[in-house]
């Protein structure tokens, strides 16, 4: 009988790890607090850079982990450390003894209502990046006008913002905004699309191509400057005030819809759970790896491992590779025992 491995979190990191553990002959137990697998990626419609449908990624992963033990709508009540194993108590009353635990708890999307000046939850036509993806995916959303003539994207909402309580860059939003801007342009070719950014961080494969294409092929306007406040006109359109720091001038523009690029935070709930086993939190608010160069997937506690965005913001391919790396770390750890 191969040792048990508990995976907390059924997003892409948890699913990929389960898949790899199954390949290696372990019996992974996947715990997911919501009613479905896939995490944040399951809310997304298409993924950059190849516009891969997110559902395709999730469905493939689901097929691959059919033989794993999956507990949906189940949380972790507490984790006890025994001599060389862990006892994980689930909220459904099941108690599991395991040799290794993989945290794949991911991130929380920043609550855009906290940046009240952008009017999320106050004005009728303000949505977040997630809302827009759900709408692309076919969900109804009354906040999105039928034929928007002008759409704005606000970068860094709750990222790199001391007042919002998160100093970190969320890494993927620049690219997501460009992707979504292009998708909006494809749906509504007549519309004007504006991106309000601090600076664009386009580090990944083919990201720069997207940026060029957004400007050259789709005519998206990029304005360097933060939005200061948003007001609502009588007809329900939005009045956005920003500063164009390249022109050095304040700017006022009326928009039919505003999309807020909400950032990524380490979840409060996750941190509470981590407190139970006294796991360290790094200065950026995410979990602390044994070190941030060579042992990113290992915690400072023996038998506890990390994969994905619980140690910092990550893209989908990064998360998937990290899940595989974590499985290899777990495998080595269990072999040595």
């Amino acid at each position: 009988m191969r040792p048990n491995v508990v995976i907390i979190g059924g997003g892409i990191a948890g699913m990929e790890a389960a898949k790899q553990l199954l390949y290696l002959g372990y019996s992974p137990i996947l715990i997911e607090k919501t009613a479905r697998l896939g995490g944040h990626v399951a809310d997304w419609y298409r993924l950059f850079p190849d516009m891969t449908p997110a559902s395709e990624v999730i469905e493939n992963l689901k097929k691959d982990i059919q033989n794993a033990n999956v507990f949906l709508e189940t949380g972790v009540q507490f984790i006890n450390r025994l001599r060389d194993t862990y006892n994980v108590m689930l909220t459904n009353g099941v108690s599991i003894n395991c040799h290794a635990i993989l945290f794949a708890t991911g991130y929380d999307l920043f609550d855009a209502r906290k940046k009240e000046e952008y009017g999320y939850g106050v004005y009728n036509h303000v949505v977040t990046n997630r809302d827009l993806e759900l709408w692309f995916g076919g969900n109804k959303d009354v906040r999105i006008p039928e034929r928007p003539k002008s759409v704005g994207f606000v970068h860094c909402v709750g990222s790199r913002d001391m007042k919002a309580g998160n100093m970190q860059c969320s890494k993927v939003c620049c690219m997501t905004a460009i992707k979504q801007a292009i998708e909006i342009k494809e749906k509504f070719p007549e519309s004007e699309v504006y991106c309000f950014y601090m600076d664009l961080r386009l580090f990944g494969k083919k990201y720069e191509d997207f940026y060029i294409s957004a400007q050259r092929d789709h005519g998206v306007h990029f304005i360097r400057g933060r939005v200061s406040e948003v007001g609502e006109n009588i007809d329900g359109t939005l009045q956005v005030k920003a500063e164009d720091t390249l022109n050095g001038k304040p700017l006022k523009v009326s928009l039919d819809m505003l999309v807020l690029m909400a950032g990524m935070l380490c979840g409060e709930k996750t941190r509470e759970l981590a407190d139970g086993v006294r796991m360290d939190v790094d200065t950026d608010g995410f979990f602390k790896s044994r070190d941030n160069i060579y042992n990113v997937t290992e915690s400072s506690r023996n038998g506890i491992f990390f994969a994905g965005a619980c140690t910092g913001t990550k893209t989908v391919p990064e998360t998937v590779s990290e899940a595989r790396a974590a499985v290899l770390s777990i495998h080595n750890y269990l072999q040595q025992k």
Binding site: K114, E117, K163, A164, E229, G231
Partner: protein, 597 residues
């Protein structure tokens, strides 16, 4: 009672006389200097107040109640109140009774300044003494009162927590000299009077101790060293007094008439401000009151230390302290003397030169639409909290008020933030521009939902024919007129008093009245004038974000002691500050009112 010493003099009175002469002349010259430093208009105001019987009467009453009886302190902390009034009033009575004794028994010596102080040394009892028994008794009684106060003071020095003070000031070296000499004066007086009580007579305190002294020291007592020590202790106290916190004793007697005359702080280093600074008793009540000490730092940035640095002239520290303060005004609210800590700081800020001085006198502003009776001004902060403006207008629509939202698309700043930064000229330009706009509109009511704006509209604007109201007051009126009828049903509400609205403008009841109609009001740990600043205040120029976070969390914890369902406030800045860390909804009173229609 007869004179015992023919010359009516003994060298031991000299230290006392030196001290007395020094302190009196110091105070007299200081007073003249300060009066000369006042602006012409202020000086006229001050002198006029002294010849106006009504104000003069108030001066006397205030000095008696505050300087001698310490009424305010009694209300806040009876033990501290007793401690202070026993020393101040007891000492005062000893001086008064001493004079009465001299006038009654040895009227020929009445012109000698030291006679009432050292009376018991210079007289001896004779057969008529029975007449003085009551006076003797009173003298001993008030000495006992003072001694009990001193005993409390000594306990307080070492165990201030027993008196409800968590933190107290760290005295400067000279303060300690003053303190110890003050402690020494009355026990020495008791010893001196006891040792001469068999000659001069005494009462329940001095006679038994005289008997005790005889028991231990035999027939012959040597009282002179005790009288010398008493006189020297008085001399030391009076000589160091101008340079210690005890300067507040004479200064407050000047502060009260000046304040009653309506003087305001103008120049930090001269005139009235100087009296304010000198009137600080250095008790440190403001330390516990200051919201900035939530993070256990910033203790040395409280008003008591500002006053100390102002006395010392330490410019670097004065600037740091002045810039850091949130200007919430709580130190002034709890201060027994009412030292205007915030105004002193703003006065300091205004002396600073800024690199760039904008000119707003030609700023463009769109004229307002005419014909609306009510103007609504939401202010810059509400632009960042759009739900408030939305709620205020929804409530006014519901009540059928004909209004114009004058800064819907962004208007001019009310001027208060730059005023708090000490930029009076720029503030004046904005105030002039806004005044012009408002008066030209022909409206008769100005509704303001931001207490920061509200305060400047009330204090600095001159708007004849226009009533300025805070939205809480305006809505309370609408409710009482029956134009709004909120439903009770939001659950437990805890109301946070914004500094500028509560302590700043004295509006405490209107918001509570409104909220009690929408739900059940529960109490915060500190309320009304003791409410704790949210930490978001525009007042501070130098507090950084993490320091503010500690203040906000501390203040928020104080609001949730009764586990309310909703935190209510009436200020957009408090709202956005709390929302950042809140674990339950934080709402403006307008929002609550809108939801409960």
């Amino acid at each position: 009672m007869t004179d015992r010493i023919a010359s009516g003099f003994h060298p031991f009175v000299l230290p006392f006389l030196i001290g007395m002469a020094f302190v009196l002349s110091y105070c007299l010259f200081g007073m003249i200097r300060i009066i000369l430093q006042l602006s012409k208009e202020d000086r006229r105001k001050f002198f006029m107040s002294l010849i106006t019987p009504k104000i003069l009467l108030k001066d006397v009453k205030d000095i008696f109640l505050n300087c001698l009886i310490h009424v305010k302190l009694w209300k806040r902390n009876p033990v501290l109140g007793y401690m202070h009034s026993s020393i101040a009033f007891g000492w005062f009575m000893l001086i008064v009774l001493g004079h009465i004794e001299v006038i009654l028994f040895v009227p020929a010596r009445a012109k000698l300044l030291y006679y009432p102080i050292f009376f018991n040394y210079f007289v001896s009892e004779n057969e008529t003494t029975l007449r003085g028994a009551v006076l003797f008794f009173l003298m001993d009684f008030f000495l006992l009162v003072v001694l009990s106060g001193i005993a409390l003071a000594i306990i307080k020095r070492f165990r201030s927590r027993l008196f409800g003070m968590r933190r107290t000031t760290k005295p400067a070296a000279l303060d300690l000299v003053g303190l110890y000499s003050l402690w020494a004066i009355f026990p020495l007086r008791l010893i001196a009077e006891s040792l001469t009580a068999d000659i001069s007579g005494g009462s329940f305190l001095t006679l038994p101790s005289n008997w005790l002294a005889h028991l231990f020291m035999g027939h012959e007592l040597y009282p002179l060293p005790a009288w010398w020590a008493y006189s020297i202790a008085l001399c030391i106290f009076m000589c160091v007094l101008p340079f210690t916190r005890y300067m507040h004793i004479p200064a407050e007697m000047m502060l009260i008439p000046m304040r009653n005359a309506g003087l305001k702080i103008r120049n930090l280093n001269k005139g009235f401000a100087k009296v304010e600074v000198l009137s600080c008793p250095g008790c440190g009540v403001c330390i516990d009151a200051c919201p900035m000490i939530a993070s256990r730092s910033n203790v040395k940035d409280c008003t008591v230390y500002l006053n100390r640095q102002l006395r010392r002239g330490n410019d670097k520290r004065i600037d740091q302290i002045s810039d850091k303060c949130l200007l919430c005004g709580k130190c002034q609210a709890v201060c027994q003397v009412g030292v205007q800590g915030p105004d002193l700081r703003v006065a300091r800020r205004s002396t600073r030169g800024y690199g760039i001085n904008q000119d707003y006198s030609n700023i463009s502003a769109t004229p307002l639409e005419k014909g609306h009776k009510v103007l609504y001004f939401s202010g810059c902060m509400s632009q960042l909290t759009p739900r408030i403006g939305k709620a205020v207008t929804a409530v006014m629509d519901k009540a059928g008020v004909d209004y114009e939202w004058m800064d819907r698309d962004g208007g001019l700043c009310c001027g208060r933030p730059i005023l708090l930064a000490g930029r009076k000229e720029q503030a004046r330009q904005l105030i002039a521009k806004n005044t012009e706009l408002i008066l030209a509109s022909g409206a008769d009511t100005l509704v303001v939902n931001c207490p920061i704006c509200y305060r400047v509209f009330r204090e600095e604007y001159n708007l004849p024919g226009v009533r300025v109201v805070h939205h809480s007051e305006f809505f309370a009126e609408l409710v009482s007129k029956g134009m709004l009828s909120p439903q009770n049903g939001i659950g437990k509400i805890c109301y946070h008093d914004p500094c500028e609205l509560g302590r700043g403008c004295g509006v405490y009841d209107a918001p509570r009245e409104l909220l009690s109609r929408c739900g059940t009001l529960v109490k915060a740990g500190h309320e009304k004038e003791l409410s704790i600043c949210c930490g978001g205040s525009l007042g501070s120029l130098s507090l950084n974000f993490s320091q503010r976070e500690a203040i906000t969390r501390n203040s928020y914890a104080d609001l949730t002691v009764a586990d309310p369902d909703v935190i209510a406030t009436a200020c957009p800045l408090c709202l956005s500050t709390y929302s950042r860390y809140a674990d339950r909804p934080v709402m403006d009173i307008a929002e609550i009112l809108m939801n409960q229609q």
